[in-house]
């Protein structure tokens, strides 16, 4: 298992800028750090091998390491105030939609819903879900804990009015668990009370929602939605509780309000606003899901920006995560004379053969405004798909999903870092995972060790052979560029989002990664604007420009996706929750925004399979004079029947040309793949009616189309339609038809001579 892990506080850093590195070791002990340039991360002995070029730097040296924990779990924290424990009577209420009232496999836990409670001192009050899934209200006088529990467990994914009432005059506490669903409500009484309860001794702690204070941290996290939590300085009659969820509140009720939080205010932010008299706003930690439909959602409006009052719920998860927040080990300021490129901070406590005593933390150095002395600005930029890396960050499908082995048609193989992630769920999930309560993960950040975004890492999805996926698969392209002696800069997705078209304007050619799947609106628009100015895109992958994402307004390093409508999805967004909380934009596939990927690249996602890869067969269009430069020196009919990824250049995920979806009418489909196994299946957005012929050996849609077209502004687009393409570049000492075609296209694309559209 991994003995040392780290992360950087940014993925993209420019000359003169500073990046901080955070490190954790399995026990207090020294570690070594140095910078390396990443050329090739594939350890497969059948290929060129790992190439990491040592670059002496100011951070090189030995440091003292120590374990640094991660505290996952979202919650809301309101700074302590004495009025949060009213003395003459207290009512606390909220609408709940519990999603994991009882853990599977006999595990038990408590889930704090709302309270100002000190567990150690037995002071304060707390509304919680007990070990058996029942709502419990408890108060403490500093010696004794008085608690009252609802008679029946909460029902998963059913709204319930939950309340706790302390009546000091009567010496009673009451718990109210009133289901809104009439079938659930019919199963038991809605309230239970006990007497003989003493006065509450206030706890000198923060008021918290969805967790309770635990020192400076949080414990007993809650899984589920909470809507409209309210605290009153009076012991209300249980019959009056329904009125707490009507707006405006009755004047007599409003006069008793201590705090009344409205989660529908500023949904993109991380503040929970108290609309009561004292403005005791809460801070939301670890990014609970917002823009969640509330207890009063009717379906009349699916867009929270138009009817926020129906989106007053926040979905908290015990495994939500945003920022590890570790102490930095050191900081590195990028020297002006470092060329743009892929680098990594190499951390080591040893050199064990399985790689468990090292970590490689990636950073991408952007080009500065001023050129590096002695180096012309390259014509080529590699657009690093960091948004896709973030989407897959610490993917758990091979650890938690039931169908992962069937998807790849072979045994799952675990690396030391997989064993680490398996034992450390607190390191956070990917956008491909579901929370433990079964709801989809819609936010992912890189402010944590992302152990599948590493040189040397072989992913579970990456086909037989090298088994690379995303970051490490993209090093096949870096290695080939190095072997070809073609200088290039790197631009990350975040740079493109932040700077728009200016991020890529200096470059004649942009190379995509193998799997550039996630794009914000600004990224998409920037790419189209650049193409309209004559930019030339080489799309060396597949399943690109597929999902719309959003970056956060205030927080760095995090993206959002909503798995709306359809598409290849590991989870599906709930009805009414298709709009991004970060921006209010409608989420889901770009294709469902009437922007199919074919508009950008000429091809779009059509099929996927993860066992073996295949080859392309040339079409008559490959003999078109317009394509002559592409096939110069290539006589073969079959292209790419070799490679480190699944033994073929066409595989994993496949894109095809389709004029109905926006492929330009003059596009040349130069070659198409064939011979895919029946593990390959047509993507779901192409399947309206399920038929038995959607497999690789039967469906004409299971193919990659090698596609080329000129743009009206003198530019051009070349697309491989296959994630596996770059895995074939190094075959036979880089002398093969995949390498030759790629080089032919790249050199012509670097040539300033405009392309001409056919007439």
């Amino acid at each position: 298992m991994q003995k040392i892990v780290g992360y950087a506080d940014r993925l993209s850093v420019g000359p003169g800028e500073t990046v901080r590195f955070m490190v954790s070791t399995d026990r207090p002990r020294p570690f070594a750090a140095r910078m390396v340039r990443v050329i090739n991360g594939d350890a497969n002995p059948a290929g060129p091998g790992v190439k990491l070029e040592h670059r002496p730097s100011a951070i090189e040296g030995r440091y003292e390491g120590r374990p640094q924990p991660i505290a996952a779990g979202s919650h809301m924290r309101v700074p302590h105030h004495p009025r949060q424990t009213p003395e003459r009577g207290l009512t606390v209420a909220a609408m709940l939609w519990p999603t994991l009232p009882v853990l599977p496999d006999g595990e038990t836990r408590r889930q704090a819903v709302i309270g100002q409670w000190s567990e150690a001192e037995r002071r304060g009050w707390l509304l919680e879900v007990d070990e058996t899934g029942r709502l419990r209200f408890k108060v403490g006088d500093g010696r004794t804990v008085y608690s009252v529990t609802a008679p029946s467990p909460l029902t998963e994914r059913r709204w319930v009015l939950a309340a706790g009432i302390h009546d000091p005059a009567a010496g009673t506490i009451t718990v109210v668990q009133r289901a809104l669903d009439p079938y659930v409500a019919a199963q038991g009484p809605g309230e239970t009370a006990i007497d003989g309860v003493a006065a509450i001794a206030p706890a000198a702690v923060d008021l918290m929602v969805a967790a309770r204070p635990d020192g400076s941290g949080a414990a007993d996290h809650y899984d589920g939605k909470i809507d409209s939590p309210i605290l009153l300085a009076a012991a209300l009659d249980p019959d009056a509780l329904d009125g707490l969820f009507r707006r405006p509140l009755a004047p007599a009720t409003a006069a008793q309000v201590v705090a009344c939080w409205d989660f529908s205010i500023d949904i993109p932010g991380i503040t929970a606003y108290d609309v009561g008299p004292h403005q005791m706003h809460g801070a939301l930690h670890n990014l609970p899901a917002r823009a969640m439909k509330g207890w009063n959602w009717t379906g009349e409006c699916h867009d929270w920006t138009r009817k926020p009052e129906h989106y007053g719920a926040i979905h908290f998860h015990a495994d939500d995560f945003y920022d590890a927040g570790w102490e930095p080990a050191f900081a590195w300021t990028v020297p002006d004379d470092w060329p743009s490129g892929a680098y990594a901070c190499h951390l080591a406590v040893g050199d064990a053969e399985d790689g468990s005593e090292e970590d490689l933390v990636p950073v991408f150095v952007r080009a500065g405004k001023k050129p590096v002395p002695g180096r012309e600005r390259p014509k080529v930029a590699f657009l690093v798909p960091t948004a896709a890396y973030m989407a897959y960050a610490n993917d758990h499908n091979h650890l938690l999903d039931t169908s992962a082995e069937m998807v790849i048609n072979r045994l799952l193989v675990m690396q030391p870092s997989d064993l680490f992630i398996q034992e450390h769920p607190e390191y956070g999930l990917s956008l491909y995972d579901s929370h433990r309560d079964g709801s989809g993960v819609c936010y992912s950040s890189y402010l944590r060790p992302v152990l599948n975004m590493r040189p040397r890492y072989a992913g579970w999805l990456g086909a037989y052979g090298s088994g690379l996926w995303q970051y490490n698969a993209d090093t096949h392209l870096l290695d080939w560029l190095e072997a070809q002696g073609i200088p290039f800069d790197v631009v990350t997705d975040e740079d493109l989002h932040r700077d728009g078209v200016e991020a890529i304007a200096p470059y004649r050619v942009v190379l995509s990664g193998t799997h550039p799947e996630y794009h914000s609106t600004r990224m998409w628009d920037a790419m189209m604007a650049w193409q309209s100015r004559g930019g030339r895109l080489m799309y060396l992958g597949a399943n690109g420009w597929y999902w719309r994402i959003a970056f956060h307004r205030d927080l760095p390093g995090v993206i959002e996706v909503r798995r709306a409508e359809d598409g290849i999805r590991c989870w599906a967004a709930e009805p009414g929750e298709y709009y991004h909380s970060f921006t209010g934009e409608y989420g889901g596939l770009w294709r469902r925004q009437d922007r199919p990927p074919n508009v950008v690249t000429g091809v779009g996602f059509t099929a996927q399979g993860f066992d073996w890869c295949s080859y392309y067969r040339r079409t008559p269009a490959s003999r078109d004079p317009r394509a002559a430069f592409i096939f110069e020196g290539v006589e073969e009919e079959i292209i790419g029947n070799f490679g480190l990824i699944g033994n073929g250049a066409a595989g994993l995920e496949l894109d095809r040309a389709d004029m109905r979806l926006g492929t330009p009418p003059h596009a040349l489909v130069l070659a198409s793949s064939e011979g895919h196994s029946d593990i390959y299946l047509v993507v779901t957005e192409e399947v309206n009616v399920t038929t038995p012929d959607i497999t690789g050996s039967q469906s004409p849609l299971c193919r990659a189309d090698l596609t080329f077209y000129e743009t009206p502004s003198g530019g051009a687009v070349f697309s491989t339609g296959s994630i596996a393409w770059c895995g074939s570049l190094s075959h036979n000492g880089y002398d093969n038809n995949v390498s030759r075609i790629t080089a032919n296209v790249l050199r012509r694309f670097m040539d300033e001579t405009p392309f001409t559209m056919p007439r």
């Binding site: 002995p45 496999d105 650890l399 039931t402 069937m406 193989v413 675990m414 064993l419 072989a458």
Partner: protein
């Protein structure tokens, strides 16, 4: 309803023996899908001992728990590991040994 492996399926065993890494015939693939169905907990996986050279069989023990490493079941060939696990699962499903 999930497929139920029967005596009739024994005829695909030789195909698996000869080509554990596939692609497989539709009938063998159906058997493999059946054997591979089920929860993550209890699933056999390989753990890398030496990248691209040596793996050890392990069993998933549940959410957040370490894999149980089967130290005596080490492989230097992925095909050999696939065949081995096929035999283990066949036995678990049918009660029969594959020679």
């Amino acid at each position: 309803m999930p497929y139920k492996i029967s005596q009739w399926d024994r005829q695909w065993i030789d195909e698996m023996r000869q080509n554990p890494l596939g692609p497989h015939s539709p009938n063998l693939q159906r058997v493999l899908n059946t054997l591979r169905a089920g929860p993550a907990k209890g699933r056999y996986v390989l753990v890398t001992r030496k990248p691209f050279a040596e793996w050890v069989l392990a069993v998933h023990q549940g959410y957040g728990k370490p894999f149980r490493i089967l130290e005596d079941q080490v492989f230097t060939d992925r095909a050999e590991a696939e065949w081995h696990v096929f035999k283990l699962r066949w036995k678990a499903h049918t009660g029969e040994d594959i020679n």
